[in-house]
């Protein structure tokens, strides 16, 4: 038990410590009672029976779920890379000196950031395929491509804002020094501004990667064979829907937790390096 402190980090006095101890004991008991009630409910309904877990946790069951996990990770990885690439281009568009380029980039950001990623995935799948059918084209968009496309539209719009904020956060002296050295605007952006901006944005970008990873689970709506869908299917075939879904959730939590920890680690590194004067995390969707 760490030393009891109040919300301002002050150590508590003797009376406060006593109260905190009483509250700890009482709330600890409440938590135990709640956990026991949950346990009772689970066992009364036979949800803790070994047979409900055996099949799912057998070699075959785990392999089935692992394939879903691999599909999830693959789609997420591709979507993160494409979002980063498109997002950087859009950010450069927003920073452009040409007004029409700025308008197009701004419209892109405002439109796609305002839409649910699920809607964009559905549109990429049903919408595009409908367009292809109408035009008599034999091209079809697979579920996997549709998820990558839908997630890229949304996340690139968010990332564009992160990148723009990152470039803006650099001191003016950087671009002035670059132009004093005779670098053209594009060169300054490529060699001086973007590399520094990316370093500062790294924590925000990794948090956005977690969001992308989580959003791949929407793919289950268009029938993509990801961890959520496989968890659901495994639960149905073994008649243990709760267990299948719980296992899928555990998979996602572990995956996201690892990436979140990377983000937290990078945040500490970056803060140390820049002496705490960087805050490029203030972009809205980064945490949700």
């Amino acid at each position: 038990m760490s030393a009891a402190v109040n919300a301002f980090g002050d150590p508590l006095g003797p009376r406060g410590r006593r109260r905190a101890l009483v509250a700890s004991v009482v709330s600890g008991l409440v938590v135990l009672v709640l956990l026991y009630l949950a346990y009772r409910r689970l066992s009364d309904r036979g949800q803790l029976d070994a047979r409900r877990w055996e099949e799912l946790l057998s070699g075959e069951g785990l392999e089935f779920l692992a394939t879903g996990l691999v599909n999830t990770v693959r789609v997420a990885a591709v979507a993160i890379v494409t979002s980063l690439a498109v997002g950087t281009v859009v950010a450069l568009g927003r920073l452009s000196r040409l007004a029409p380029v700025r308008w197009v980039a701004t419209t892109y950001v405002q439109l796609f950031r305002a839409l649910p990623s699920l809607l964009l995935i559905i549109f990429s799948f049903y919408g595009l395929n409908q367009l292809f059918i109408d035009q008599g084209s034999a091209t079809r968009v697979s579920a996997e491509v549709a998820i990558v496309l839908g997630l890229t539209l949304y996340n690139s719009a968010v990332i564009a804002e992160v990148v723009r904020a990152g470039v803006r956060s650099l001191p003016r002296g950087q671009s002035e020094a670059a132009s004093a050295l005779g670098l053209r605007r594009g060169q300054a952006q490529r060699f001086v501004l973007l590399p520094q901006a990316f370093l500062r944005m790294l924590p925000a970008l990794v948090s956005q990667a977690v969001t992308t990873l989580k959003d791949t689970a929407y793919g289950t709506v268009i029938g993509f064979d990801d961890l959520l869908r496989r968890g659901q299917l495994a639960g149905e075939t073994t008649r243990s829907p709760l267990q299948g879904l719980v296992l899928a959730a555990v998979g996602y939590i572990v995956l996201c937790f690892v990436v979140s920890q990377v983000a937290a680690y990078l945040e500490r590194r970056v803060t140390r390096r820049f002496g705490g004067r960087t805050q490029v995390t203030g972009v809205e969707d980064v945490t949700t």
Binding site: S24, K214, P241
Partner: protein, 212 residues
């Protein structure tokens, strides 16, 4: 033209709106309780709050919704899919509300709390008179962003077949054979909620902002 679909999306729009409002209330309640737990001097409550936030933040919303709607009924509770959607959204968004509130409390300078103690205010007085009024002001923008994100997140209800804007657009895409018009219409429908919300947050922020 996207406008011709607005009629058909109207019902979905109302569903999305009520999902947003109901789960926003739930999320604010859950988030406030969690934030209070996380800043309390009671280790057990802190641990519970932290565990909740870590678990929920790292679970994809669709997984939570499907787990609630298809997994939990085996334990007894039987609600409609709409209710499960509201519950999943409230539980999920509550974690983000908690973090927004907590960062607001942490943003109030340590000196403020120390000064309040120095002039003899107790914990409750310090919180009520000094820390919370200031925290509320810094918390408006992040909380507003959480609510805007919640509006978009209500689309998750479509994964458990609640007929919101997203699910109705899905049906319209095939029945109307005009995907571009449908996406335009549903974009408008979401913007009708998110844009005023964003403006309201900006105005509120301007009104309560303090110059530090």
């Amino acid at each position: 033209m996207p406008f011709q679909y607005l009629d058909e999306l109207a019902e979905g729009f109302l569903t999305t709106l009520s999902l947003t409002l109901l789960s926003a209330v739930g999320a604010l309640v859950i988030g406030t309780v969690l934030a209070a737990m996380r800043v309390s001097p009671v280790p057990v409550l802190r641990a519970v709050g932290t565990t909740y936030v870590q678990l929920v933040r790292n679970t994809p919303l669709p997984v939570l919704a499907v787990l609630f709607a298809l997994g939990l009924p085996v334990l007894g509770p039987s609600f409609g899919f709409f209710t499960w959607a509201v519950l999943a959204l409230a539980v999920y968004t509550g974690a983000f509300v908690c973090e927004a509130l907590r960062s607001g409390i942490n943003a109030v300078g340590v000196g403020q709390g120390e000064a309040a103690r120095a002039i003899g205010l107790g914990f409750g007085q310090t919180m009520r008179l000094v820390v919370l009024p200031q925290a509320f002001r810094t918390v408006v923008p992040p909380l507003g962003n959480v609510l805007i994100a919640l509006t978009k997140n209500t689309a998750v209800a479509a994964t458990i077949s609640v007929a919101d804007i997203t699910l109705r657009s899905n049906a319209l895409i095939t029945s109307s054979a005009d995907p571009l018009g449908v996406i335009g219409a549903s974009a408008l429908a979401y913007l009708v909620i998110t844009l005023p919300l964003g403006l309201a947050v900006d105005r509120l922020e301007g009104r309560v902002a303090v110059v530090r």
